[in-house]
Symmetry: C2
Subunit: 412 residues, 2 copies
């Protein structure tokens, strides 16, 4: 072969085609659109979430707990479903905490991380008796002060800014100067002060990065995380009950990206377990995952409102756009725009017949959902499905931009 093949999207799993139409949870997307009553909408498949948790658990060694980071998808029905599958929920605000508590989960299985917690938020978290991942010595003093007023002993963990980073990561959350956590080298001093305060020490939260698709990079970070936890545990007032080793498991969004080999991830972690047990004792090791568990379970469905040809290029103008799926437009952390996987859902098994641009309804050139995609001929009325839309979709998008109604979400 002399010409490099064009990279393609990883195959999409879990959405079979029946009668030329994409299905979700056994329901044709066209029919689901009738049930929802309006487009655009987000549809999430609970079966795919269940399946992903099961596959991950099967690959991971005994003794690893799973937490769901609900910032990935905070729809209450999704959070409730996930709460029944995992061992804990991670929240990033008092608002998310309310949704998490509504599931009925034990508050001690909820943890709260975030670099800018206000006194009001801390007071609510203390009252709820959840585990607070403290981001700094200053935040620790505020927690102790507020807890004193409430007359309770709050559950706390220390979020550590590690002295390494998760290489080749979509987002680096640790290593170097960061707003997250306390620098690893300052943690012993913080533990000393912690021992003087009326705080119930739970453990450490060490999170190096997210959206990583390289098994070796993940292993390297996990190894360093466990070693760091062992070092820090020596300075703690009591053995940590929990060490949150973060997540970082990515999903393939763009052409050329491949899903992680879970067996390899599991084997890597398994090889670290003896060292963890020896150094940390009967600690609960927690993996915190959001995107990995729910991202592939979601579709963003829009309808074609106009089909136009401008100077030789086909534009399929939809009723959706970046106000609902900002990341798919290439405007949330990406440097160069790349396409999410997309299908004409109502012609799902049609072979690519034309090159078309899929755009949103907003009056801005940023509002692109697919550039020069090979698709069956899309017509007015056809439904378009964007895959990998179950995480950081609706809740991470500027829904009020240009004043369109808020789209619905459905869990099937």
């Amino acid at each position: 072969m002399t010409v490099a093949e064009k990279p393609v999207h990883a195959p999409i799993e879990g959405f079979p085609i029946a009668d030329h139409c994409l299905t979700i949870g056994g329901i044709a997307v066209t029919r689901l659109a009738e049930r929802v009553g309006s487009t655009p909408f987000f549809a999430y498949d609970r079966g795919i979430m269940t399946d992903r948790v099961a596959k991950l658990r099967a690959a991971l060694p005994e003794g690893i707990s799973l937490h769901y980071a609900m910032k990935a998808n905070p729809m209450p029905a999704v959070v409730t479903h996930m709460a029944g599958l995992v061992d804990g929920l991670d929240v990033a605000s008092a608002g998310e905490m309310m949704t998490a508590l509504d599931t009925g989960i034990d508050p001690r299985d909820i943890s709260f991380a975030g670099p800018g917690k206000t006194d009001a938020e801390l007071a609510r978290a203390i009252a709820a008796d959840i585990v607070i991942n403290m981001e700094s010595p200053g935040e620790m003093e505020r927690i102790a002060g507020i807890a004193g007023i409430q007359g309770v002993t709050p559950k706390v963990a220390i979020r550590v800014n590690p002295d390494f980073e998760l290489k080749t990561s979509g987002m680096k959350m640790g290593g170097g100067p960061k707003q997250f956590g306390t620098d690893a080298e300052k943690v012993p001093d913080m533990l000393k002060r912690l021992a003087e305060l009326d705080l119930d020490f739970y453990g450490f939260h060490i999170f190096a990065g997210s959206q990583n698709l390289r098994e070796e990079a993940l292993f390297e970070a996990q190894e360093k995380t466990i070693d760091l936890a062992i070092r820090l545990a020596g300075a703690a007032p009591r053995s940590p009950r929990m060490v949150n080793i973060g997540g970082g498991l990515g999903i393939p969004y763009f052409p050329g990206e491949k899903p992680l080999n879970l067996m390899q991830v599991g084997e890597g972690l398994n090889s670290l377990m003896p060292r963890a047990k020896k150094g940390l004792g009967a600690v609960e090791l927690v993996m915190e995952l959001g995107r990995f568990l729910v991202g592939p379970a979601g579709l963003y469905i829009t309808r074609i409102v106009d089909r136009k040809i401008s100077r030789g290029r086909v534009f399929l103008v939809t009723d959706g756009g970046l106000h609902h799926q900002l990341a798919a437009s290439g405007n949330f952390g990406q440097v160069l725009r790349k396409n999410y996987p997309v299908l004409i859902a109502s012609k799902a098994d049609g072979a690519g017949k034309e090159e078309a641009d899929i755009v949103g309804c907003l009056c801005t050139p940023l509002d692109r959902l697919g550039d020069k995609m090979a698709l069956p001929e899309g017509e007015v009325g056809d439904l378009v499905a964007l895959f990998q839309s179950g995480a950081y979709g609706l809740s991470a998008s500027p829904i009020n931009f240009l004043g369109h109604p808020k789209p619905l979400e459905v869990l099937v």
Copy 2:
């Protein structure tokens, strides 16, 4: 001088400092925060908006109307204020149309542009008797069909995708293949069809780009726009009553950018007026502006929640973030993140004493509001002001991201 000076932000006008504190509309920002009752919040100064409209009108030739593109800032109080200053409002959705109509403005002074208008939106616009900027022949047919059912003759203009672009523009909206409007070369055919339908022809909407800071580039686009309108008018069923020549006037956001010379912009347009009058007769020439009129009138105010030093770098962690001011975080159309102008509002006249990073409260490394800025020492409780936040701020940001409460807005 042998070393190039580091580019700096253009001076900020309209927010005097009194007793070391930034003021807005004569009110100290610290006091305004007490009145609003919570941080973060957006504050807009109606006086600055009035002043900007007056200065622009003084620079522009007679016979140029001004429209406010309310997508820049759809806060109802702002839209009402602007409606009293300008000659018309431009909306981008039926939702925005409702706010525009609530101001009491004459519906014929409202125009509605947007590439993905649904039948439901078109029906509402037709019933409201506003001017619809038609984006394609297909949309024209849908309008005629819906208007027939309602038994009314809708007011329509043709949005043209010009055969040129606005050079060096922040966002290019015309030229080449685009989802906006009808290609200039296809407009004569569309006009022929328009004449067969029961549609009240108002004119043309020709919009080449936005956020431009080069007077010559603006002049070149305006000249080509007027020439194009004259060419197209020859094929119209009647003389156009209105030609919307777009806006494109930018504001300085980043170090090194300078405000436009309005006199130069006005002189350029003035030199085109004889040609426009000769070729278009008693047409109303409309400039449509959003950001230019309201952007510099707005502040985003956050409070410092934590001050931390991580590996030698100072981080001021605020209670705000990209969920309210996405563009300032560098994640809305920018390729490389640059700083908006920022001040410690409660120490506004303090000389720069340290280099600090201003970050938001979200658990993502994308949440940066200022990188390595020279600022007086910010402490917990201090207010931070982001300037140039009156346009594409709150409404263009993912407010639900991580579940924090929606911030308030105040017009002073």
